[in-house]
Structure formats: structure tokens, C-alpha cells
Amino acid sequence: MNEKRYDVVVVGSGAGGGTVAEALAPLVRQGKKVLVVEQGPRLRLEELSGRELEMAPALYEDDGGFLTADGTMTLAFGRAYGGSTVVYTGTSMQPPERVVRGWGVPGLDHSDLDRRARRFAGDNNVHLLDEGLLNENNRLFVEGCRKAGYRAEQFPINVKGCKGSSLCNLGCPNGAKQGTHQVQLPAAERAGVEVVTRAEALRLEERVVVLRVSARPEGGKGLPSEWAPGDYRVAAGVVVLAGGAVGSPALLLRSRLPGLSGRVGEGLTCHPAHILVGEHPREITNDVGHPKSFFLDRAAREGFVLETCMYFPFTTAKNLAGFGAPHSTLMRAFRRLQMILVLACDKAVPGNRVSVDRAGKPVVHYRFTRETVAALVRATRASARIFFAAGAIRVHAPSADPPLVEPGDSARLDERISERHFLPGKISVSAAHLMGGCGMGRGPEDSVTDSFGRVHGLPWLRVADSSLFPDSLEINPYLTIMALADRVAEGVVSDLSELGAGSG
């Protein structure tokens, strides 16, 4: 076993880990050693081909098809230098005050999060896309909302030189999306923070990260690891977990550290989502242009959010319910399709959690509560109204049976689209906003960390990612994650002086 020593080791390089890496970079100038450990590869821009078959295995855990334990939902999360920020769409939302207040975490103040998130929005070039760059898929959403009595809002997005290739979720081939792989990690590395890729943290021991560095598989995408393949014991003054809402609880659970809260893994939420499709009588611009420019926020009143979206052929096929001629007909109408992503604002409930199997691999247990199903159904009905108001001639709704809804059904949408047709295992549900598992709170009986991500009972260990959320955020989460991670980094700086950690 190789031995190394750092002052701080950060596990994971996504929204949380990348933020911590950059925030700690000034420490390097003071002689401290900071390491980021990332299990995924570092991809070169020219390797981002925009093809589902190549990019999904290169960038996502389980090729983007990570299934919950009962197989009824697919979870999408990244596994690369930059984590899920390499594949996210870049919509950049401020933390909602109503939600943060509702969490009731002692010491967590909305205005503090908001201020930090605004700073990252500036760093990441967050802005509204020029009207001339909006495609018809997005414009029809705005028009449909207006005619159906809703007010769509424009998403601020974090792009620089976006060409509108519509491939954001397969990694931006133009380097336009300002994820941590593009902004925070390169800045941290320039300042002397080390990043080791293809390095999986296997377990934690007291102030030690045990990790395995893998060789680049033959023919695989990405650069080889910065370190020689093999197993390493890395001693650290402070360890920061930023492996995401699945990775961080899983690592803690397989480490079995004495004194850890029994809440680890609990409280997982994920904004379960459906992809809905409306067929128009004419071709529209849909697979060109930034895919996600507008949203409709009904979280407070109706428990859902609608977002524009556009997916790739296989992802679309998989998410449309059914099979055979009706499914094929819709696929052949691809150029006439408008798409809406509906997200339910689920709540943390007992049983929805991360565990690990005997091999230490994460297992996600998730059951749809009645409230979540009802929110998805309400969201689907609202989307159907929006599609028809925008001129669609048919709407595909997974919670309708048969799933194709015609304009003639408009008057009886409540009957056509209903909870009784939401049959788990039959219809596709997916989620990309994974939250919770190491929630913040008062003490070990109700949470895993305090409001600065410090793990209760383990002063050398902090968490700085989406797993900190005590409940769902009810809006796209990355800026809030960065704001939380920035607070954690602040805590690390004070830990280092308190713990008097030294590097060797």
C-alpha cells in the first residue's frame, strides 16, 4: 500500500468538491497540501462526441441507468472530473427562501446562502440567453403557458460561447457550460491544488482516506490517472466528503466509523421526473439551441416544477411509455416534438435512503409517496394544457392509459391523466437532482452534520455536497450546493488552525 499525506483531502470533484477545491486553494500558498480525489476520468474536450452510446458510459455512473433498489426509477449522476456539473444543463437558480427557512437548520441563514450563490453565479457567467438564441421548443412553452394562464420564467444559465448544440447532458462539446470542470477545478489546480482522477475512495479511517487508483481501460475515454495504479493510504488533517448524495453516504456507511450518526443515508429526495412530449403539426426547432431556457415554478402551490427540455433518441424512446406502432409513430415525429420535463418536489420520508450492499456498493431505496405521485399527475395535466395551448395535436402522458392524449380529451384531462395509471415499473421515472443522505441539523439524533457540514462527533470530517440537504430544495440545486460547500470550506480553514494539522 502506498502512503501519502495531505492537510486536506476532498473526495469528489462535482458542484461541492470543485467549490471546496477552489476555496481552499489560497491555503496552498501558505504551504498546505490539498488533494481532490475523483473516481471518474478527466475528459478532453475533443472526446465529447455528443453520442449517447459513447458519452453515457464515459460520464455517468452506471451509464446513466443507475436503478433504485426496486427498479422503478433511474437516477442520473456524473462520474468525472467535474462530477455531475459536466453533464448538467447549467440552469442556475438561487436558493429559495421559503424552502431554506422551512428546513429549520440552526445556524443556516438564507441570506448567507443567497449571497454566496450570487457570487458563484457571477463567477460562472450566469445570465439570460438572448432572445435570438431561443429555439421553438422553448418559445412554444412560453406561448403555451401564457395561453393556458401560467407565467413561464426564463432560466438564468451559466454558459460562455454557447453554440446551441443541445448536447449539454452528454458533456458540452464546445466547453461553453461553466461547470466546476471548466471554472473552479482548473483555478484550484493553477493555484497548486492536486487532483487525482480515476481514484476511488474505498473507505475512511480516522483521518485517513484509503483509495484505489485504476488504470485507464483500453479504448476508454479520458486521460490516465495522475497517479500510478494501485492502492493508497492518504493521511489527512481534514477530510471533506463531496461524493454526491449517493457517493458520500455510501462511503460513510462502508467505513463504519465509530460515533457516526445513525441518520447516514436517510432523507434522500430527488425531484422524480417524467419527460413529456407534445406533437405539433409542423417541424419545430428542438434539437438545436440551448435545451432548457424556461420553467414554470408551481412548487409552493402545487408541488411541481415544469422545465423545457430536449433529449436524445434513446433517452426519448426509453422515457416514452409503451411500445409498438404508437411509440414508433411518435419517434418518427421527432422533428415535430416539443418536450417538457415535469419534476415533483418530493419530501424526505422514512425509508427513502441510501444503503450499501455486501460489496459496499450503493443501493438507493425509493418509494413514490402518494403526494409525489399526485404532484407528478398534476404536473402532467398542467403540461398537457400547455402543449395543447401551444398548438400540439397529441400529447404523450405516461400517467394516461393509453398514453396518447388527443385535443378532444382536453375537457376530461383529470380523468385521462390520473394516479390510477401511475404504475411503477411500467412507466419511466428518472431523477437527476439527488439530495440528502448526510443531512444538516441539530445533532446526531436528527442529522449527520451541522450547518457547516461538520460531521457530528467526528471533528476531522466534513461533508460539502448535495447530501447535506435535509429535504428537497424544490428547484434546480447546483448553485445552492456551491453556496453550502463554500461555507464548509470556510469551516475547514478554521479546522486547520484549530487542529494544527501539518503536512509531511
Binding site: 453554440k163 448544440s165 439551441g289 426509453k318 418518427r332 421527432f334
Partner: protein, 137 residues
């Protein structure tokens, strides 16, 4: 990668193709090379999955082929297209979650094999590429 791993659907190829052609009716007109491509994509996609899962999927395809004997007196492969569809509609709505999930898994693999091919992308008119708007003007 596939050479090193035992083929998942090789031993049940005819049943798999009958299912695939019911799930995506256009698959009936695929030539031998196109079928090979569909199957290679599916096998590659499964290569990294645990052997137990691959065995379960193969068993499920076998079951789907045999179960219609109880209702129609014929295997799935021997049914006409409308009966194949009727049978799979029943499987899709089965009261048992495990059965619905199994079918969802098979249809997902078929869609992956079929729609990841360039030919299918072209056929449905999907054109996204890195040049974005520049490529369309």
C-alpha cells in the same frame, strides 16, 4: 469488451428478435448487418453488468417466449404480430412489479440497440451536433 463476457441474448436470439420487432415494428425490415449492430450495442451495454443480472434477463426472455403457450398454444416467436402485441400489453400491465420491471428492462435495451444507431437517428430526423445553430444556417 463483449468477447470476454458470455453473450446475454445469443442463446435466445430468435426470441429476442421477435420481442424487439414487436417493441419497434420497423425492426422487421432490418437486414442481417443491422440486426448485428442492434445486438452488439445491447451486448456491449450489458457487458459491465453483473453476470446474475444478465442471466435473469436471458431467463426473462425465455419466459416471455414460452408463456404465450398457456394462452395461445404457441410460443411468442410463432405468434402473429397482433397477438404478440396483445401478449406484451398484458405483460406491461402485469400485477406483479417484477414482471413489469423485467419488461421495462427488455424494452429499454431494445430501444438502446435500435435508436443508438446512426441509421435510426437519421430515420427519425435527429440532427443535434456540436456546431449547433451554425450547422443549421
Amino acid at each position: 469488451m463483449t468477447e470476454m463476457v458470455e453473450s446475454t441474448f445469443g442463446p435466445v436470439r430468435e426470441s429476442f428478435r421477435a420481442l424487439a420487432a414487436t417493441i419497434v415494428p420497423e425492426a422487421v425490415s432490418l437486414d442481417a448487418d443491422a440486426w448485428d449492430e442492434v445486438e452488439r450495442i445491447v451486448e456491449d451495454g450489458l457487458a459491465a453488468r453483473p453476470a446474475a443480472i444478465r442471466r435473469q434477463l436471458r431467463l426473462f426472455v425465455r419466459l416471455l417466449d414460452l408463456l404465450p403457450v398457456l394462452r395461445f398454444g404457441k410460443t411468442f416467436r410463432s405468434l402473429d404480430p397482433s397477438r404478440r402485441t396483445a401478449f406484451l400489453l398484458g405483460v406491461q400491465d402485469a400485477p406483479v412489479l417484477l414482471v413489469r420491471r423485467g419488461f421495462w428492462g427488455i424494452r429499454t435495451l431494445v430501444y438502446m440497440g435500435y435508436y443508438s444507431r446512426q441509421e435510426a437517428r437519421d430515420a427519425i430526423g435527429y440532427r443535434a451536433d456540436a456546431r449547433g445553430w451554425e450547422g443549421r444556417r
